[in-house]
């Protein structure tokens, strides 16, 4: 009877992630998918308490959290309720494990929960983590490009005022320097700025 599992009460979960932005995105997505997010906490220092208070079915935790060892220990200490077990222990599906690890997420479930339902939680979390990672990389890239553009503009300006050249000449000088030194335009610009911003006396010394 699969109907029983689909109509069962929503899985109740705690999310442990020290990255606030990411946690908010994952929480929203899990809630949209019909899971009840009881709380989101940054580290497990309050986890033992939260677990006892809220008795979640699942704990979803960022892979890079040192508290994973704490969670695993709970699956052994019988005095804690609920008893989480590692999602992966039964699955033995290495492809899935690898995907989850690369996405940066893992989950611990209460013992009597259908593993397929927990898997759905992880699938949602995984997708969100991966999406966040992608966004993050894009953002970093854009930031780096912006920073490089600023450096190039500044170097150009310095060249123009100090050497009295046109903007075009300043730019082609930079590009030629970069090619000769096998460096990026940004790195070359940074070098030029350092050099040109030194006091004149220091610059002239051999």
């Amino acid at each position: 009877m699969t109907a029983a599992t689909t109509t069962a009460a929503p899985l109740r979960l705690i999310l442990v992630d020290d990255n606030r932005e990411r946690a908010a995105a994952v929480e929203a997505c899990l809630a949209l998918s019909g899971f009840a997010v009881l709380s989101v906490i940054p580290t497990a220092s309050g986890l033992l308490f939260q677990m006892a208070q809220q008795e979640p079915d699942v704990v979803v935790i960022a892979l890079d959290s040192p508290d994973r060892d704490v969670l695993e220990s709970l699956s052994i200490a019988s005095s804690h309720n609920p008893r989480p077990v590692v999602m992966f222990s039964e699955a033995g599906d290495q492809g899935f494990i690898g995907d989850a690890i690369r996405a940066g997420v893992t989950a611990y479930q209460a013992e009597d929960i259908n593993p397929d339902r927990v898997r759905a939680v992880i699938d949602v979390a995984m997708a969100q983590f991966a999406a966040y990672k992608g966004l993050r990389q894009e953002l970093d890239q854009t930031r780096a490009q912006l920073a490089e553009r600023k450096l190039v503009e500044k170097a150009k300006g310095l060249l123009m005022t100090i050497h009295k050249v046109s903007e075009e000449e300043a730019y082609s000088t930079l590009r030629k320097l970069a090619m000769d030194q096998h460096q990026s335009l940004g790195a070359t610009a940074r070098g030029v700025i350092t050099l040109l911003q030194q006091p004149k006396s220091a610059r002239r010394r051999p």
Binding site: S45, L48, L63, D64, S65, P66, D67, R68, D69, V70, L71, E72, S73, S75, I76, A77, S78, V86, F88, S89, G92, Q94, I97, G98, I101, R102, T106
Partner: protein, 397 residues
């Protein structure tokens, strides 16, 4: 050069190794600093991990090639206890000893008030703690922390408590905390004591928030501590690379065996890309000058960490069997002796250790088992095979 040319070519040369922020990750770090990976044609990336669960999972998923690991972890993983089940092996022990048990200043006073003296023996402080628990009404509720359920830390803490007539399951609460959260948790009074590897005991002593009661060495002389862990599958695919990696690490351990090199080691480990903490927190245990209480003179403990001597690298199957028995005890299960023997044989690869020792011309024990609790000073097992003291407090009861 001759050694290198005799070696089989590596199946892969670019490796990712995992380590945790602990002083006994020194062999992995020093092998890189001394150029030993390069010497064996390997190019190694060292990745700082935050939990043992992470290390294990990344090994299984292939995101790490090999890692610094708690000695019981390959066995527990092969057994499927706790986390996921996977066949793991070790062919090299990286270090012996290196842990200590630290308690809050308040609890240290109770222990001292009942005659417990850390300078005397492990049993002295344990007995005093036992008296404190029995003589105080209502019985104090003490919480101790260790770094992982299946760690020598847990086993050493349990042994120490038992030596004081304390039942680890009943009389106290034992929880798991990440090493880096120990000192803070002790200072805030969330826990009353812990068993952890260095530098996390020295850090508590230096801040004046904890007092060392006993060293791991006092609980069990020269106990196996960290190993080089790989999955059985990885070894099967990369036997040549695995051998080269072990040779590089064995040479690093031999270098670390010289006390004169330990100050440099502390300086290097302190760097941001490694442990990223003040050198002064790393010096005490690495140089064997451990302070037990803030303001008191340091104790001379040259064997606080043992690397590369007393056959430290050899994965004794007798040790492995003991670790599995203790793992069973933590799980509340008795594992059948045949099961233990078989699991240890498949996980503790003495054959592979001997293979590496031959290349380096290092003497190597001919048997896989050795007695425990027989020697209170260094002794010779076979000609040229010197072993350290092996007393275990359990038997003194």
């Amino acid at each position: 050069m001759t050694i290198r040319s005799q070696l089989a070519p590596p199946e892969r040369t670019a490796l990712r190794l995992g380590f945790l922020r602990l002083s006994d990750s020194a062999p992995l770090i020093m092998a890189r600093e001394l150029g030993l990976y390069q010497k064996y044609g390997l190019q190694v990336d060292l990745l700082r991990e935050v939990s043992w669960a992470n290390v294990r999972d990344k090994l299984v998923s292939g995101d790490l090639d090999a890692a610094h690991m708690l000695a019981p972890l390959p066995l527990a993983t092969a057994l499927g206890a706790g986390g996921m089940r996977a066949d793991m092996i070790t062919a090299l022990v990286l270090s012996l000893n290196g842990n200590a048990i630290t308690v809050s200043p308040g609890l240290a006073l109770e222990i001292a008030g009942r005659g417990g003296d850390p300078l005397q023996s492990a049993r002295s402080t344990a007995t005093a703690l036992g008296r404190y628990l029995r003589e105080t009404t209502p019985q104090p509720e003490l919480t101790f922390a260790t770094v992982h359920p299946f760690s020598c830390h847990t086993f050493q803490l349990r042994l120490w408590l038992q030596a004081g007539g304390i039942a680890p399951e009943r009389d106290v609460r034992i929880i798991v905390l990440p090493p880096e959260q120990m000192v803070d948790s002790l200072a805030r009074g969330i826990i009353d004591g812990y068993c952890v590897g260095e530098p996390w005991n020295s850090v508590a002593v230096q801040y004046g928030v904890g007092a060392v009661q006993v060293t791991g060495h006092q609980v069990w002389n020269n106990a196996i501590e960290k190993v080089l862990g790989v999955t059985a599958q990885w070894h099967k695919l990369h036997p040549g690379t695995h051998l080269r990696l072990r040779l590089a690490l064995m040479e690093a351990c031999t270098w670390l065996a010289h006390p004169a090199n330990r100050v440099d080691t502390a300086r290097i480990l302190a760097q941001p890309e490694y442990l990223d903490m003040p050198r002064d927190q790393l010096l005490p245990s690495l140089t064997g000058q451990l302070q037990f209480v803030k303001g008191q003179p340091a104790r001379e403990l040259p064997e606080f960490h043992v690397f590369g001597r007393y056959q430290a690298g050899f994965p004794w199957r007798s040790h492995g069997e003991w670790l599995l028995q203790q793992t069973g005890a933590v799980l509340g299960k008795t594992l059948a002796p045949e099961r233990i023997k078989a699991l240890v044989q498949q996980t503790f690869r003495t054959d592979l250790y001997r293979e590496a020792a031959r290349y380096l011309d290092l003497p190597c024990p001919s048997g896989d088992y050795k007695p425990v609790n027989r020697h209170n000073s260094a002794w010779e097992l076979e000609p040229g095979i010197e072993l350290g003291p092996d007393m275990m407090l359990e038997e003194w009861l």
